[in-house]
Amino acid sequence: MTEPNTSVAANILDIEKIRKDFPILSQMVRGKPLIYLDNAATTHKPHSVIERVRKFESEEYGTVRRGAYKLSENSTQLYEEVRQKVADFLGAEKKGEIVFTSGTTQSINLVAHSFGKRFINEGDEIIISNIEHHANIVPWQVLCQERGAILKVIPVNDDGELMMEEYEKLLSSKTRMVAVNHISNALGTINPIKEITQKAHAVGAKVLIDGAQSTPHLKVDVQDIGCDFYTFSGHKMYAPSGIGGVYGRMEVWEEMPPYVTGGDMIMQVTLEKTTYAKPPARFEAGTPPITQVIGLGAAIDYLNEVGLDKIADYEHYLLEYGTRLFKDIEGVRIIGNARSKASIISFYVDAAHPHDVVTLLDQDGISCRGGHHCAQPTMIRFGVPATTRASVAFYNKPEELDALAESIKKCIRFFSADD
């Protein structure tokens, strides 16, 4: 067994200090210390986020963008400051290019509906990949059915990498939108999104990048990528659930009609006619999740403080460490071996179904996901009904991956006994 080279890890991050920032991590589960490895599903909150939310709710809360009184004015200012923080975090040119939503699912639905209504017509083509989350498949499928458009799919090779030469063949003057993830939630593949964007733009198509898995793990620069839309979810990046957003290039936003309508997204309403507000307000009907936005701001502050470069380095160390461990276990197959990969290890245990695996891991205090990860086409591509997935965050330790490997071996022995 590989000894954890803790000095390497310690050189990158002070892990014990970081773990103290996350109150939930110190608890016991079924009498054992919690080992949380389902970070691709959702992440835990540092104390600074929890405290910021508490303070905002108890001392500062007010409605935004409408009250002409102190609490509301203050709330509005804090809310808009977070928009600027998100813009800086993603490398957007303008603050107004950030639209708050409930998360990536709503972000993609917003773009599919609004962009689709204006720009997608019969015979047009939309390209996705074989390794998308359902949230980046279903909205496009529905749009294609409604508009008579055609959905095309970039295939992946056996390592879980997009086949770029096949992608190029799919592109044509009919392509209107290319929607792919930055990082696959099921396999961890980091996709070459800059190249994908350049090739799409060369045929006049727009590009949406699903950034749900990437924003917590690596530095994003939407201007460098050049994409037209970039979506994210707060709860996957240490912020509260129920908040996320989508970056869109302003000139594209301006051409798009509203998706959800109602209060706050209007310029003027008479009983006969409504004119719409400019972006981003046009796409933020109703009272937004104000507290969650404030929490998102605190999460971004926290990530900036730790440093995304360090986070990426440390998580990559954990990825390599965990991969080495699992490759040594007989009867365990890693699904997804892309050369460029984030800290997600999806694997299949021959002796047991993933749901039985995760139930037994939970007996050892280990939270892992077992299932299709809302990516059934990915599972079909790799010929498995589901996988077990360990998704690592920067608050995880190499020792936790050791414990996972031991627990998997125990599970294999349990299911193989008397065979």
């Binding site: 179904h353 993933p354 749901h355 139930t359 299932g371 599972m379 009904p385 349990f414 299911f415």
Partner: protein
Amino acid sequence: MSYDNELYQQVILDHNRKPKNFHAIENASHSCQGINPLCGDDITVYLNVDEEAGKIDEVSFQGSGCAISKASTSMMTTFLKGKSVDEARLIKDEFHKMILGEMDPEKEVHHLGKLTLFMGIREFPSRTKCASLAWHTLVGALDKKFEGISTE
């Protein structure tokens, strides 16, 4: 090396490894496919029902899934053979109540026999659908739900 829980008992592990009645019935009088979309469990239950006597003559299944769903379906098939359709429906209701913790087989009258082995699943709310899929699919077959059933 053992686990401190009542879920994976030896009988359940045995049925998972060597499921009983694990085949299709040609020209079955009733059949239904059941899917658990959360897990990807996918089974088909086949029945030959004597309509006049209201009796289940034959019952079998095929498919793939976790140990709990496979063992539950296997044990259901061995348990139901020769029972009446009315009994089967009653047992399904009792089984369902037991795994949801709404009926305690140690204190209440029931007809579950050795199926009480699945009682431990009460402690695992995320796994109850694995155990109940077989029974929902059985009822789907009896009700002639040709489109199949889903636990969601």
